[in-house]
Each structure stands twice: as structure tokens, then as C-alpha cells.
């Protein structure tokens, strides 16, 4: 049975979380069951969470071999990094 079930990636926003985080994956025959299963497997029913499920096949990932071309240019230009500004205490979650 599981052989016919596609893989789904699960993203969860926890009760006080600001964004959905990838928490893992599971097999399910369709989106509705993937949501139900994600809730059982990954949330332990924490109230006030939001779940996204996405077919793994629909996710396009950057290729590891492109790593240098994609990320190296920004690493060598530290003046682009916002690390030189003192942040006021009131600004949270930046």
C-alpha cells in the first residue's frame, strides 16, 4: 500500500512561531490524509498550529553543485551583511 503513496513534505508553524518550518516528511495517498497524518505525527495536537503539506515532487531544490555560484559571491562581500548596525532593543524577531 505504501508503495503507491507519494511522499509529502510537512511544514509546521507552531503556536508562537512566526513562520512555517520544515519538520519532516510522510507518505499519504492524498493531501487531506497527509494533513491528518502530519497532525498525528508532528504536532501532538498542539492547538493553534498551522500545517502545510506539499508533495515532495513539487519541490524544486537548488543543486549542491551550484553552491559556489549561488552563495559564494555574497559571502565575500561582508559589507552587504547587516552585522554592523546596533539594533534597538524594541525591534524583535528581525
Amino acid at each position: 500500500m505504501s508503495k503507491e503513496w507519494p511522499l509529502w513534505e510537512v511544514f509546521i508553524r507552531s503556536q508562537h512561531g512566526l513562520a512555517h518550518k520544515h519538520v519532516g516528511s510522510l507518505h499519504a495517498p492524498d493531501a487531506e490524509m497527509a494533513i491528518n497524518n502530519a497532525r498525528d505525527v508532528y504536532t501532538r495536537r498542539n492547538e493553534g498550529v498551522s500545517i502545510w503539506v506539499v508533495k515532495a515532487a513539487d519541490i524544486v531544490a537548488s543543486s549542491p553543485s551550484d553552491k559556489d555560484a549561488l552563495f559564494e559571491p555574497s559571502n565575500s562581500k561582508v559589507y552587504r551583511h547587516p552585522t554592523f548596525f546596533p539594533m534597538p532593543e524594541e525591534v524583535k524577531n528581525l
Binding site: 500500500m1 505504501s2 491528518n36 497524518n37 498525528d40
Partner: protein, 249 residues
Amino acid sequence: MAKIEYLLRQGDNALILSQQLSQLCGKGPALEEDMALTNVALDLLGQTRMWLGYAGELEGRGRDEDRLAYLRDSREFRNVLLVEQPNGDYAQTMVRQFFFDTWHYFLMRGLLSSTDRRIAEIAEKSVKEVTYHLRRSGDLVVRLGDGTPVSHAKMQAAIDELWTYTGEVFIYDELELAMVEQGVAPAAEALREAFLQHVSEVFAEATLPMPDPGAYMQRGGKQGRHSERLGYILAEMQFLQRAYPGVEW
């Protein structure tokens, strides 16, 4: 006292069904189903503890939830016959669950306005869990009923097997009528209507024919008259407690 008896009935339903679902741990048709089934079992066990705990308090004879669960014999159990029916195949497990969840959901909704504050509180905690149980089992009934010819046939066989056990919860005896009288429990008729309505909606979607609401219904569980199956369930469940009574664990 009637209320203690009423609490035992609620607790025993949840306890026996939870015990049966626990036996499926590691045997579900898929990993995710396995998780879901054991989740439902855990929910029901949590509800059992609340019902039996309250029953023990009211009784005031020092029987806590453990003593009530592990040291009563089958004649003293008050669960309906539906929950002691065998797990069978997955169709039977899910049909049993769906019938139970449907009734359970409407009962908990009704108990939210119980004149007994503790009962209303237990119902409030339970209703969130039961809402999910109902959604899940209904979903699976549709999937299996409207699945392949084989799954449809298995669902039909499970319904034929179990339908006769669905009426017991609506056959109120004097004890339950007294509970309705005192505003502790909801009346049977409204529950039964809601139950039949929901079952017929889900079955229509599942391409399963609605069974005859006027069919003969088995009864006796609520009064302690059980099928022999309950004896086996209890023998396994209570073994350790009876072998080593009074041990802290």
C-alpha cells in the same frame, strides 16, 4: 447511586475501545494509520481516567481509576456491546470506530450543557478529541466504501456485522432516564436522530446503503451482560494487576 453508574458506563466504553485499539499498535495497514489508531486509543484512555476517576470519587469507597479498571470483572463492566466487538479486518475496525465516534461526538456535545459541572468539563475536554476522531473515521469510511470493489465489499460486510450493535446506546433504561430527568444527560431521541443523519450522509458519500434504523438491536452491555469476548479482553488487560495486587507502578 445512578450517577456513579452513569459515569462507569462512559468510562468503560472509552476503556474497552481504547484497549482494543491498543492491540493494533504495530499492525496498522500503514505507518501513519498506526500512529492515528494509537493516538485515538490514547485519547480514549485519557477520557477513561476522567470518567472513572470521578466515579471513584463520588462512590467514596477508595476505588480509584486503577482499581475500577483492573479489579472489576466482566459482570461489573458497563460498556456497550459495540466496543467489545473484535477488531477484525481494517474495515471492521473502522466501521466500529465510525459508529462509536458518531454517537460519542453527539453525546459529548450534549453533555457540554450537563447540570453536573464536572461532567460538562470532561465533555468539554473530550469533544475536541472526539471531533477529530469523527472526522478521521468518516473520512476512512468514504475512502474504503468508495474505494475498490474489494474494499467496498469488506465495508459492507463490516456494516452487516456491526449494525445490530449500534442501537444499544439509544435504548435508555431507568437509570439513563433519571439522568435525563436531572439534566445530567441528553435525551436519547435527539442523539439518535443526529446519529442516523450523520451516518446516512457519510454512507451516501461512501456509496454504502443505509442500514435499516428499525432493525433488531442487541443490548445488555450497559447492564453488565456481555459477550464472552469481554472476558478475554479483561483477562489480558487485568492480568498483571491481579497477579500482583496493590503494587505501586
